[in-house]
C-alpha cells in the first residue's frame, strides 16, 4: 500500500464524537447548518437544516474557496489563511481550518454575533483536531473495513454504470 495515497478511514466511534461536537456547536451558536469537510471537498459530517439537498455541491465549493485562499496566502507570503468569513444579506458563513486536513463551516443568520461563532469554533476545532490526530494514527488495514472482494464488486459496478 502506497502510504501517500492511503485512504482516510473515519471509524464509527470517531464519527459519533464528531457528530456530538457539531450538534453542540449548532446549539450554542444557533447555527443553521454546520459542515465538516475534508480539504478535497468531501463531506465528513453535516448537522442542521435537514432539507438542504445541495450539501455535496456546497462542500465542493467551500473546499474550493478555501484551497483558492491558500494560494492567495502563498502569493502574499502569508503562511495560511486559517479562517474565512463571508457576509450575506440573510446568512453568514464562517470557515475554519483544522490542522491541514479538515474544514469546519458554520452557516448562521443575523441573530448570532460573529464573535461568539469565532470563540465557539475555536473550541470545536481544538476538539476536532484531536479526532483528526486519532484518525491519522490508526493503522487499520483497508481490507478489514472493505472486505477482500470489495474491489472486484466495485469494478463490476463501474463496468455496469459507466457506459454509453
Amino acid at each position: 500500500m502506497d502510504p501517500q495515497l492511503t485512504s482516510q478511514i473515519v471509524p464509527i466511534e470517531e464519527v459519533r464524537v464528531i457528530e456530538e461536537c457539531l450538534v453542540r456547536l449548532a446549539e450554542d451558536t444557533s447555527g443553521n447548518h454546520i459542515l465538516l469537510l475534508d480539504k478535497s471537498g468531501q463531506v465528513i459530517a453535516s448537522q442542521g437544516d435537514g432539507n438542504r439537498q445541495d450539501v455535496t455541491a456546497l462542500g465542493a465549493l467551500i473546499a474550493g474557496t478555501f484551497a483558492s485562499s491558500r494560494e492567495v496566502a502563498k502569493l502574499l507570503r502569508e503562511k495560511d489563511f486559517r479562517q474565512l468569513f463571508t457576509q450575506g444579506v440573510r446568512e453568514n458563513i464562517f470557515i475554519a481550518l483544522i490542522e491541514d486536513q479538515w474544514i469546519l463551516c458554520i452557516i448562521f443568520n443575523k441573530g448570532t454575533h460573529i464573535g461568539l461563532v469565532k470563540v465557539l469554533t475555536k473550541k470545536a476545532t481544538d476538539e476536532l483536531s484531536l479526532v483528526l490526530e486519532r484518525v491519522r494514527d490508526q493503522q487499520k488495514a483497508r481490507d478489514d473495513v472493505l472486505g477482500s472482494s470489495f474491489r472486484t464488486s466495485m469494478e463490476d459496478t463501474i463496468d455496469l454504470l459507466f457506459r454509453d
Partner: protein, 192 residues
C-alpha cells in the same frame, strides 16, 4: 485522499480532469452527465466565465450506489486550462485521488500539452505525492479533427510513463469518454 466513513458506510473519491485550455475537459463531464442514469448523478456545477470558459472548476458528483454495503461516490472535477489560472489548478487538485490528463491531439497544441503535463507533475509533487506512483490516465482527445497527430507521436511526447491511454472525441460523439472514466475509476479503487 479517499475518504471512508465507516459509520455512514460511505466511500468518497476525487478525480480531476487536467489538461491545456480547450482540450475538452468540460466536454468529458458534460457527456458523462448526459449519459449516466438520473439516480446515479447530481447536478453538473460549472463556474465559468461569460464566454463559457472554465473559471474555477466544473463539478459532477456520481453515486455508484451500494457496493458490498458501502455507498460509493466519485466526485469529478475539471480545472481551468488557461495558462493564467495556474494557481487555481493547484487549488482544485488539492486532495485528488487520481487524474485524467486530457490532451488535445491537434499538431499546434502539442507544446501546450507538454507544458501542462509538466505543470501537473510539479503540482502533484508539491502535494507531497510521488508523481510516478500517482494514478493517471491519459486521454488523446479530438481524434476526429483533420490533421490530428499520430498516436506514436503523442505517445513519444506525452506518455513516457506508460499510463493507460485512450483515444476520444468527447465533444462530438463521446467516444472514449467512458473508457477513460472506467480506467481511472478502477485505478483509484485499486489504490484505496
Amino acid at each position: 485522499m479517499a475518504l471512508i466513513n465507516v459509520a455512514a458506510r460511505e466511500i468518497h473519491c476525487k478525480i480531476v480532469y487536467y489538461g491545456p485550455g480547450m482540450s475538452g475537459k468540460t466536454s468529458n463531464l458534460q457527456y458523462i452527465h448526459n449519459q449516466v442514469p438520473r439516480d446515479a448523478k447530481g447536478d453538473l456545477l460549472s463556474i465559468a466565465t461569460e464566454t463559457e470558459r472554465t473559471l474555477f472548476f466544473d463539478f459532477l458528483p456520481l453515486d455508484l450506489g451500494k457496493v458490498r454495503g458501502f455507498q460509493t461516490r466519485f466526485h469529478l472535477y475539471t480545472v481551468p486550462g488557461q495558462v493564467l489560472y495556474e494557481r487555481t489548478r493547484v487549488a482544485v487538485l488539492n486532495g485528488a485521488d487520481g487524474v485524467v490528463f486530457v490532451a488535445d491531439s491537434q499538431k499546434h497544441k502539442l507544446e501546450e500539452n507538454i507544458r501542462s503535463l509538466r505543470e501537473l507533475a510539479v503540482n502533484v509533487t508539491k502535494q507531497n505525492k510521488k508523481f510516478q506512483e500517482f494514478p493517471v490516465v491519459l486521454q488523446y482527445n479530438k481524434r476526429d479533427v483533420p490533421g490530428a497527430l499520430p498516436l506514436t507521436t503523442l505517445d513519444k511526447y506525452l506518455n513516457a510513463m506508460g499510463w493507460p491511454r485512450f483515444e476520444a472525441t468527447a465533444a462530438t460523439n463521446g467516444s472514449g469518454v467512458f473508457d477513460t472514466l472506467k480506467a481511472i475509476s478502477k485505478l483509484v479503487i485499486s489504490k484505496l
